[in-house]
C-alpha cells in the first residue's frame, strides 16, 4: 500500500472509531433516558453496524426506494438501540424523534419495525432475519442485480432451527450476495452461550452447510473494513462472518458481564459510562 493510501486508510479508521464512540454514547443515553433496552448486545455489534453503514453498504436516506441498493436486516432485533444510533447519525431521523424510544405511541420501540425510517423488516423474534434475507438475496439474483443483503444474528440466536433451514437454502441457491454476520459475544441472557446450548464448532458447521466462512475481531474497525472488502469470499457461496466481539464493549464494568444483557444504568453508572467514553475519545485524539 502506498503511503498516501495508508494515510487515507488511517483517516477512515480514525473517523469510524470516533463514530463508534459517539454511537456508544447514544446507546447508553437512550437506554438511560428511557429506562429500558438491551445494553450489552447493542455495544457488542455497534462497530459492525458502523462499518457496514458508513463504509460498506450503499444505503442512505436518499436511496431507500432504489431497487438496486444494498439491504440490511437486523435479525438480532433486541439490539435495536445500536441500529437507531447509526441510522440517526446517517440522517434517517432526528435525535428528538429517537428520544421518544419506548414511550407511548412512539414508532421507536424495543425491536426494529418498518415504522422507523431506514428499517426494512420487523424483527425481534429470533431466527427470522436469515430466511428473510435469503428471500431478498434470491430476488436480487433472479433480477440479475448486483446488490448485497446483509444481516446480523446473535450467537444465542443460532439455536433457532430456522437459522439452519435458511442456511441450507442460502447455499442451495448459491447466494454469494448474502452476507450473514454472527455477533459472537459468547453471552446470552442466561449466561455463556456454550453453557446454555453448545453450538460449537460453528466454523465447521457453517462450512459444512456450504458457506464461505471468515473470522474477524468484530470490535476492530480496521479488521472489519478489510474483511468486508473481500466479499464475495468465494464465488457461488453465501458469506458468513463470525465476528468475535465483547458484550458490553467500551464500558469497563459492562464488558463480558451477563448482567448487562438488558440492565439499565443507574445515575452514577451512567455518569461513569459517559466519562469512560469521553476518555476513549481523548485517547483516540492523542494517537
Amino acid at each position: 500500500m502506498s503511503l498516501d493510501l495508508q494515510f487515507l486508510s488511517h483517516q477512515i479508521e480514525y473517523k469510524l472509531e470516533r463514530k463508534s464512540i459517539e454511537y456508544r454514547k447514544s446507546i447508553i443515553k437512550l437506554i438511560y433516558m428511557s429506562k429500558a433496552g438491551h445494553t450489552g448486545g447493542s455495544l457488542s455489534c455497534v462497530d459492525i453496524l458502523n462499518v457496514l453503514y458508513n463504509q460498506v453498504m450503499n444505503i442512505t436516506p436518499n436511496n431507500v426506494s432504489a431497487i438496486d441498493r444494498d439491504h440490511y436486516i437486523h435479525s438480532k432485533g433486541h439490539s435495536v438501540e445500536a441500529l437507531y444510533a447509526v441510522l440517526m447519525d446517517l440522517g434517517f431521523f432526528s435525535e428528538d424523534k429517537m428520544s421518544t424510544f419506548e414511550k407511548y405511541n412512539s414508532p421507536f420501540i424495543g425491536h426494529p419495525t418498518r415504522n422507523v425510517p431506514g428499517i426494512e423488516q420487523n424483527t425481534g423474534a429470533l431466527g427470522h432475519g436469515l430466511s428473510f434475507s435469503v428471500g431478498m438475496a434470491l430476488a436480487a439474483k433472479m433480477d440479475r442485480r448486483n446488490n448485497k443483503i446483509f444481516t446480523i444474528m446473535g450467537d444465542g440466536e443460532l439455536t433457532e432451527g430456522s437459522i439452519w433451514e435458511a442456511s441450507a437454502s442460502a447455499a442451495h441457491y448459491h447466494l454469494d450476495n448474502l452476507v450473514a454476520i454472527i455477533d459472537r459475544n459468547n453471552l446470552q441472557i442466561t449466561g455463556k452461550t456454550e453453557k446454555v446450548m453448545n453450538m460449537e464448532p460453528l466454523h465447521e458447521k457453517f462450512l459444512a452447510y456450504g458457506y464461505a466462512v471468515r473470522h474477524v475481531d468484530g470490535n476492530d474497525i480496521g479488521e472489519l473494513i478489510s474483511i468486508f472488502r473481500e466479499i464475495p469470499f468465494e464465488s457461488g457461496k453465501p458469506n458468513l462472518v463470525i465476528a468475535h466481539t465483547i458484550k458490553g464493549k467500551g464500558i469497563s464494568f459492562m464488558e463480558d458481564n451477563v448482567a448487562w444483557h438488558h440492565r439499565v444504568p443507574t445515575d452514577s453508572e451512567f455518569l461513569t459510562a459517559m466519562q469512560e467514553l469521553e476518555q476513549a475519545e481523548l485517547s483516540l485524539e492523542c494517537q
Binding site: 431497487i67 418498518r114 426494512e120 423488516q121 420487523n122 424483527t123 425481534g124 423474534a125 431466527g127 427470522h128 436469515l130 430466511s131 428473510f132 434475507s133 435469503v134 428471500g135 431478498m136 438475496a137 434470491l138 430476488a139 436480487a140 433472479m142 433480477d143 432451527g161 430456522s162 433451514e165 435458511a166 441450507a168 437454502s169
Partner: protein, 326 residues
C-alpha cells in the same frame, strides 16, 4: 339453481394451479414457493412451464414463509404453497411477524385444508387456521367454495395489496355459480333466490358451501325459505351481508370445515350478539374432540356437516325456534 352430476367441476386446487399458470404467462414477477408440495399442490405443470418462477424450499415451512416474505419485499408476487396444517401451525410465527406484522403482501396458500387429508389423521388436519389467523392482525382470510370462486379469488389475489391466506380442499367441487357473476374479496355471495324474509339462513365457507346449498334446496322443496350465503372471505368480514340476511331470518346456521371454536361460527355469533341481532343459532363444524378417523365425507357425516345432517339440523332448529316463540 340445482347441482347435478354434470355440473361437477374440478378440484379447487387444480383450478388454482391452472389460473396461476395463465397469470404467470403475462407476469414474470409471479413466483411460487413451496415445501416439497408441488405434487399435492398441483403445481408440477407450473414448475415445468415456468422453472424460473418456482422456488423449492424443501420441507421447512418456517424458512418457506420467511423466504417468501423476503421475495415479496423485493417486489415479487409470491404464492406460498404448502399444506394448510403445517403452514399455519409450524410457520405461524413467520406468518405473524415476517408477513402480516411486516406488511408484505405474500399470498399464503394452504392446500388440502380442513379434513381433506381424511384418514391421515390430526397431524394433517387444519382445524385451527381460521382461529389462529383471525387473531393475527393484517392478513385477509379466504376459502373459496367452488371453481368459479377459486379462479376469481386467485386473479384478485395477484395484486392484492395486503397479506392474504387462501385455503383449498382437494375434492372435485360442484359448480355453484353463474360464471358471469362478479366477485370481490370481502363480499359474501348469496346462492339462493332473494326474498324479503327467510325462515333460515345458512352461512357457509369453503367446501361446506355445497353441502349447505344442497340442504337449502331440500328445505326449499318443503316450502321453507332459506338464504344460503357463501362467505368465502372471513376477513374482511362482510358485516353488511350478515346483518341484512340474518335480520330477516328466523334462525341461522353456520357451516365450516374447521373447529367450532374461533372460526366462522364464532365470528358470526360475535357479530350478531354485539349488534343486538338475536336468533336461534347453530354452529356446525368440528367439535372439541379427537377427530374421528375416516375420509373427508365420513368425517363430515360424523359431525353433521353433510347436506342430510344440515337439513335435519335446520328442521330441528326451526322447530325449537317455533317452540320458543310459543
Amino acid at each position: 339453481m340445482s347441482i347435478k352430476n354434470s355440473s361437477l367441476g374440478e378440484t379447487n386446487l387444480d383450478v388454482f394451479a391452472k389460473t396461476l399458470m395463465d397469470l404467470a404467462d403475462h407476469d414474470r414477477n409471479i413466483l411460487v414457493t413451496t415445501s416439497d408440495s408441488r405434487g399435492s399442490g398441483k403445481i408440477t405443470p407450473f414448475a415445468e412451464k415456468f422453472p424460473e418462477q418456482i422456488v423449492e424450499i424443501g420441507i421447512a415451512e418456517q424458512n418457506l414463509v420467511g423466504i417468501s416474505a423476503g421475495l415479496a419485499a423485493m417486489g415479487k408476487k409470491v404464492f406460498t404453497v404448502s399444506p394448510a396444517c403445517f403452514l399455519t401451525a409450524r410457520a405461524l410465527e413467520q406468518i405473524k411477524n415476517d408477513v402480516a406484522y411486516s406488511d408484505h403482501p405474500v399470498k399464503v396458500i394452504g392446500i388440502s385444508a380442513g379434513v381433506s387429508y381424511g384418514a391421515l389423521g390430526t397431524t394433517h388436519h387444519s382445524l385451527h387456521d381460521f382461529a389462529a389467523l383471525q387473531a393475527i392482525n393484517n392478513i385477509d382470510i379466504v376459502a373459496p367454495a367452488d371453481n368459479f370462486e377459486t379462479r376469481k379469488i386467485i386473479q384478485l389475489a395477484v395484486n392484492h395489496p395486503r397479506p392474504i391466506y387462501i385455503r383449498f380442499g382437494k375434492k372435485a367441487m360442484p359448480n355453484l355459480h353463474d360464471p358471469s357473476k362478479k366477485i370481490e374479496i370481502g363480499k359474501a355471495i348469496q346462492l339462493t333466490p332473494k326474498h324479503k324474509n327467510y325462515d333460515l339462513t345458512f352461512v357457509a365457507i369453503g367446501e361446506t358451501v355445497a353441502e349447505a346449498f344442497l340442504a337449502s334446496q331440500k328445505l326449499d322443496k318443503e316450502g321453507i325459505k332459506v338464504c344460503c350465503l357463501s362467505l368465502h372471505t372471513l376477513r374482511p368480514f362482510d358485516e353488511a351481508a350478515i346483518q341484512e340476511v340474518v335480520s330477516n331470518s328466523l334462525a341461522v346456521i353456520t357451516v365450516e370445515e374447521h373447529s367450532v371454536n374461533g372460526g366462522l361460527g364464532s365470528r358470526v355469533a360475535s357479530f350478531l350478539m354485539q349488534n343486538d341481532i338475536f336468533r336461534p343459532m347453530l354452529i356446525v363444524g368440528i367439535p372439541d374432540d379427537h377427530t374421528v378417523n375416516g375420509n373427508q365425507g365420513e368425517i363430515f357425516r360424523h359431525y353433521g356437516i353433510d347436506q342430510q345432517s344440515l337439513y335435519l339440523s335446520a328442521l330441528k332448529l326451526l322447530h325449537k325456534g317455533k317452540r320458543n316463540d310459543d
